[in-house]
Symmetry: C2
Subunit: 361 residues, 2 copies
């Protein structure tokens, strides 16, 4: 079924008459129209859907591209913003309840639409209509994600040759970015993490001027966006011989990652996958040192549904692509995180990574 038809089939037309799609990934997913927002607050497009009509709203810069990439939509061009055209459509189509994506719509745009429409129309926030469908990837999408991951892994291997004692985290991060960009990516999937020594105890450390030393953990978390699709992988390495503590922490994280991946089968609750990995850490001396969720979906966005954590109970289904990324973080010493991308299949799962840069302790 066409994505647009699937969205319309899943929409709750009893609860609203029309929905405005304003998230970039959602717009691209549903329509094919692909313009990335470069500056927050400047918008390049919206979709406006009713049960039997489909409009794409954009400005004149993108008119030709919109018509070519999204032929199934009626393209409407605005000058200042979408509110004038939208209010016209709402009146012409006698819309009584107007749904919007609250996560991707700024109050300024919302207010302008509401000001033009007055009190005749109800506004209802609707989350996850498109995201829920985006969770299940088709074969083309799996291929694109795999291609993105292949690029990321190739650059990771180059980085293993580049990294050395005395180089700064920032220099390594910039090397990664250059290689990913020159490898044909649209962009990084997210700012790379290169966290060495004590910095690696922070799951979201930003690369700094610290020089990488031997015998300490170095967490490298990186990804590319290629043809729109993201990849995300983490390895933890050590220049020269690892210490006893590194070996202990690492072995435990690897054990937890293996347990998490083994748990991925269709029908399992995402919280149970988290638990399979987390319990391995919690039954060790490192109990409580794994302070984030086990993983997340990856697709057009680096972080998307489903989310894997102790309190999330989304049922995993074939076609989902998730990360499995346990970690142990010890303030003052450092941390270890290992992250693979995993596709849920009909019978179990498939690890999409080919890279085998793992220590065996």
């Amino acid at each position: 079924m066409l994505r647009l038809d699937l969205i319309k089939k899943n929409a709750d037309w009893d609860a609203y008459d029309a929905i405005l799609i304003s998230g970039w990934e959602n717009m691209r997913y549903v329509s094919g129209f692909d313009v990335i927002e470069h500056q927050i607050g400047e918008t390049s497009g919206y979709l406006f859907l009713t049960g039997n009509k489909s409009f794409l709203l954009t400005d004149s810069r993108y008119e030709a591209q919109a018509k070519s990439e999204a032929p199934g939509f009626e393209t409407l061009i605005y000058k200042q913003g979408p509110d004038e055209i939208l209010s016209g459509l709402i009146k012409d189509l006698a819309i009584k309840v107007f749904a919007y994506e609250p996560e991707y719509l700024f109050c300024s745009v919302f207010n302008k639409i509401q000001d033009r429409i007055g009190a005749d129309v109800n506004f209802v926030p609707v989350s996850n209509l498109v995201e829920d469908i985006r969770m299940i990837k088709d074969k083309v999408e799996i291929g694109l994600i795999t291609a993105s991951l292949e690029l990321t892994e190739r650059v990771f291997q180059d980085t293993m040759h580049f990294i050395r004692e005395g180089i700064t985290e920032k220099e390594v991060a910039w090397f990664i970015e250059k290689q990913i960009r020159e490898g044909g990516a649209d962009s990084l999937a997210f700012p790379s993490i290169v966290a060495s020594g004590p910095n690696s105890a922070m799951p979201h450390a930003m690369p700094g001027e610290r020089k990488i030393k031997a015998h300490e953990p170095v967490v490298i978390d990186m990804g590319s966006q290629l043809n729109g699709y993201c990849s995300d992988m983490t390895r933890t390495i050590c220049l020269k011989e690892p210490t006893e503590e590194f070996r202990n922490v690492y072995a435990r994280v690897k054990f937890a990652q293996d347990a998490g991946i083994r748990a991925v089968i269709p029908g399992i609750k995402s919280s149970d996958v988290d638990k399979a990995a987390r319990s391995i850490i919690d039954e060790s001396p490192f109990k409580g040192r794994f302070g984030h969720g086990l993983g997340h979906g990856v697709g057009l966005a680096t972080h998307e549904a489903p989310s894997l954590g102790p309190n999330r109970s989304i049922k995993l289904l074939p076609g989902m692509v998730i990360t499995v990324e346990p970690g142990i973080y010890i303030p003052g010493w450092g941390g270890v995180r290992l992250e693979n991308m995993v596709q849920v299949t009909e019978n179990g799962c498939l690890v999409l990574n080919r890279d085998e840069t793992f220590y065996e302790f």
Copy 2:
């Protein structure tokens, strides 16, 4: 006067009791706290101001940084988002009217705050409280903008040595980005425009696979962000001898730019500066071919107040830094745009650019 005091002095405390600052540049400007949002929808901080209290809300990742960079604020840490803490503050401080920045607040955050507060509190959108003050740059800011522009101009000169027939627009854009990043910038100020031949007729062309040829216009619009502050410059060049049409268009744009810059004096309306440049084009055979505003303010954001266009009448004041960037665009042939950055001074203005890559026809 401290920036925070200036904001509080300018706030209309008769119209509201508290204001939430959510724009990144506004937050940095007022508090010094500097975390760039990398993913739309994920937020790293907010300021909440009343007449006599000042709070900075962020999550635990940024607690240490916030306390160190923004010592004049009481730092409060949230787990999921700011709404829980905000609703507590609104109750504790007996806030009746709550102001917010609609351009920088997503509906999802707004809705969560409103859901927690109920109908006891009025919400009012307030635009430009901080932006209006940001328009006037102090000496330190002028120095930072100048440093950013110096880097941009150095990279532009390098680009002049790099560019040659047969290279693609994308290759030139990537060269610019690498040089700017390796030159110490935080990032590009915006995605560079390298538009050759007919592509240069589009003011916002994105660099593509087109190979640059001799005798045609090549518009290069580029900028860096260095220590938070942006620069923005445009030159139009031609490999080998320019054609007669290039000479005619170029001379007219240069004439218009000179007229625009000459018009910049304190007290003039921004629309009159636009008119000074636009009339030069409109009294030529290229009338109507200058389809955008003459310029914009530059500071923490690449595009900020004041805006210079036919319908804008902000009074220019000493300390403002604006661009003057007329262009002539001829579909099918190409375009020419020339952009300098100009500081409004007590007596007139000062062109901040040192680069003199201009043809004299």
